[in-house]
């Protein structure tokens, strides 16, 4: 509804503007036209006033003077009087063609009707002038002078008529001039008034619109400023680590109070902040993906390791594009997870205690027997064979040490601090840890590790070993439960490299995972084992560990059993990555 009203108002405003512009343009055109017309009429008027009557009047004056000169000279013809007559006649002769040849004379509509008459008088004058010119020393007699006087006398009436016509014309012109003088006072003023009014209305409307826009912009700016201030306050107050940095030079632009407390209170260019940004950067999978999830550990200068998890997002900050890290401090969660992982490992160790005891008893038995034989040799004085016995005892002690090392290694507390490790060795260690148990359970292990020895992945090695051990123990337990069904006890462990990924699979033939729980098999407390076996957290923790290594673990049923497939990114050193990029 509001939108419709707004559209209507906008259309109406546009319409008014267009109308005002059109009106102003029309009024301007009309005023211009009036001005031009007025100027033309004034010009015509000036010409008319200068001409009409004046030419006829001049001719009439000259005619009167000529007639007067003829009369005077006729009383007593003389050479002097004759010259005066000739002068006047010549002047009159020169005035007559002006009546009809000049531009001014042509303005009079009635004049063409008088032209033949005028030309007739011109001929009379020309004849007289020719006579005088033929005999310049002869004084023109009185009769000839009177004759010419009588012949020219009617010209006065013709000139009078022309003069009257001119006067009449001038009167009409004068009227028009009067009208013209009166009319412009109203029409142009009205036009000007409308023009100016239209212009003023247009300007006022535009000013009103501009003012409304200005108010809207100011309001929006104020709201934006308030929002920005609120956001900053929110960011400062929120119980999360928020850091804004320029990814081009890795310099921190903003760190909220919690970030400063947890990371560093030093200036943003300090080593601590650079180390923090590098740790965040290293945890990214891929390049500059938007809103990418970051999860990493950061060791503070006081030695405490923080666990942080959140997102990295591009933002416009202080007028330029930067990156924002919004992270939750998951250190307590991490510690709890580590405790659970530790508990799970200890539970596994407890389950394997029997196998471990057996494994340790083997070298102990050999040692005991070798020692008994050595004592006997010593009692018999046969010291030559004694050395071989001692060597055997040493070898068995070394064997027992390896077993206890393995147990200690598996049982020790872990951190989530990721570092590169050799994958093949980790798989070998995990397999060797359960090999005895598999042997005791009569399960055959098929191992196909198509991996270079030097291939590395990034993560916490003992946790990864725990994942493999978990999968192998699950497979063993599945066989234990399905042995009566005649399942063939073989477990296959395979690994191979595919480009920048390495896959590790553990597959058994113990009947597989029930379809009901296949989709939730990695959820916490999902288990098919009895309460005495397992916590229901093994696979959930395994998935967490693998995801922490930027990998993925999936479960499926294949070949009459369960197949767990782990995919991990191959670790490349920065130098290798640069080479690959080149």
């Amino acid at each position: 509804m509001t939108l419709k009203l707004s559209n209507l108002r906008r259309r109406w405003s546009l319409l008014v503007t267009v109308a005002l512009v059109a009106t102003t343009a029309c009024l301007f055109a009309a005023t211009t036209f009036l001005y031009l017309d007025h100027a033309r009429q004034r010009e015509m008027l000036a010409v008319s006033i200068r001409t009409s009557g004046w030419v006829a009047y001049q001719a009439q004056i000259e005619l009167i003077k000529t007639l007067a000169a003829l009369r005077i000279d006729a009383v007593d013809p003389s050479m002097v009087g004759q010259e005066d007559v000739l002068l006047r006649i010549e002047i009159l002769r020169s005035r007559l063609p002006i009546l009809y040849e000049s531009e001014e004379g042509k303005l009079l509509n009635e004049l063409p009707a008088h032209v033949p008459t005028i030309k007739g008088y011109e001929a009379i004058i020309d004849v007289f002038l020719a006579e005088v010119e033929a005999q310049p020393e002869v004084i023109v007699p009185t009769q000839r002078l009177n004759k010419l006087h009588d012949e020219l006398q009617p010209l006065a009436r013709t000139l009078q008529k022309i003069l009257q016509t001119s006067v009449a014309y001038n009167e009409s012109i004068y009227k028009r001039e009067q009208e013209l003088a009166k009319s412009p006072a109203f029409i142009p003023l009205a036009l000007m008034f409308f023009s100016v009014t239209s212009l003023v209305v247009f300007v006022l409307l535009q000013a009103m619109r501009d003012r409304q826009r200005l108010i809207a912009v100011e309001r929006a700016q104020a709201e934006a400023a308030h929002m920005q201030e609120n956001l900053r306050a929110l960011i400062r107050a929120m119980p999360a680590v928020v850091v804004v940095f320029d990814s081009l030079n890795n310099v921190v632009s903003f760190a909220n109070p919690l970030a400063q407390t947890l990371i560093d209170t030093a200036p943003p260019t300090s080593k601590e902040w650079r180390r923090f940004l590098k740790a965040a950067q290293d945890s990214l999978t891929g390049d500059e993906a938007e809103g990418v999830i970051v999860s990493f550990s950061f060791q503070r200068s006081n030695g405490k390791i923080l666990a942080l998890r959140g997102r990295r997002q591009r933002v416009m900050w202080e007028g330029r594009q930067q990156c924002m890290l919004a992270l939750a401090d998951t250190t307590q969660v991490r510690d709890a997870e580590l405790q659970i992982m530790q508990a799970a490992k200890l539970a596994t160790l407890g389950e394997m205690a029997s196998a471990i005891a057996h494994e340790i008893n083997q070298p102990l038995t050999v040692i005991r027997m070798a020692a008994a034989n050595a004592q006997r040799l010593l009692a018999n004085g046969d010291t030559a064979s004694l050395e071989a016995k001692l060597d055997r005892i040493n070898a068995q002690i070394e064997r027992a040490r390896r077993i206890t090392d393995q147990v200690r290694r598996y049982g020790r507390s872990t951190t989530l601090h990721a570092e590169p490790f050799f994958l093949r060795r980790a798989i070998d260690l995990a397999i060797s840890f359960v090999a005895e148990q598999y042997s005791m359970s009569g399960i055959r292990l098929v191992i196909e590790l198509d991996l270079p020895v030097e291939l590395q992945v990034s993560g916490e090695q003992t946790l990864f070993e725990q994942v493999i051990v978990n999968l192998l123990i699950n497979a063993r337990d599945a066989f234990e439960e399905n042995r009566a069904k005649g399942a063939h006890p073989t477990v296959q462990v395979r690994a191979r490299v595919e480009g920048e990924q390495v896959s590790v699979s553990v597959q058994d033939q113990a009947g597989g995972i029930h379809q009901d729980i296949l989709s939730t098999v990695f959820d916490p407390f999902t288990t098919t084992k009895s309460e005495s076996h397992g916590t229901g957290l093994g696979l959930s923790l395994s998935r967490k560990i693998i995801r922490g290594m930027k990998g993925e673990i999936v479960a499926s049923n294949a070949g009459g059993g369960a197949l767990f497939l782990i995919n991990l990114p191959v670790y490349r050193r920065e130098a290798e990555l640069r080479e690959a990029a080149q």
Partner: protein, 130 residues
Amino acid sequence: MISAARKTLLLCDDEKDLAEELGEYFSETGWRVNICNSGREAERLLFEGLAPECLLTDLRLGDMDGSRLVAMAHALPTLIRPRLMVVITGNILGCATKHNLGVDILRLKPVDPVMLAQEMEDMLLSRMTD
């Protein structure tokens, strides 16, 4: 006292070092010892009529379960059946006892060789005098 000729022992353990040391010990204490490192080899020797007076085996062999070897020995004809059956194991046994395994002596590793040899000899003697 049992004559040396009667103290015959078939020793079966897939742990070669242990089999050797046990064999050496029993040999030095007057036993005539046959050593084998797999259940199948022991089975073959028993079937071929080795007829030792005593069978000593680990419970977990590489290729078969030690209890199966004991069961097979029990099934042998009386003339070639070992008179005494002994199991040594590194496993922590749950409900498994010498009775349900069908053996005369069951000992956990690491065994005391002196005590084991004495016990075996005493028991064999008692069997022979019965």
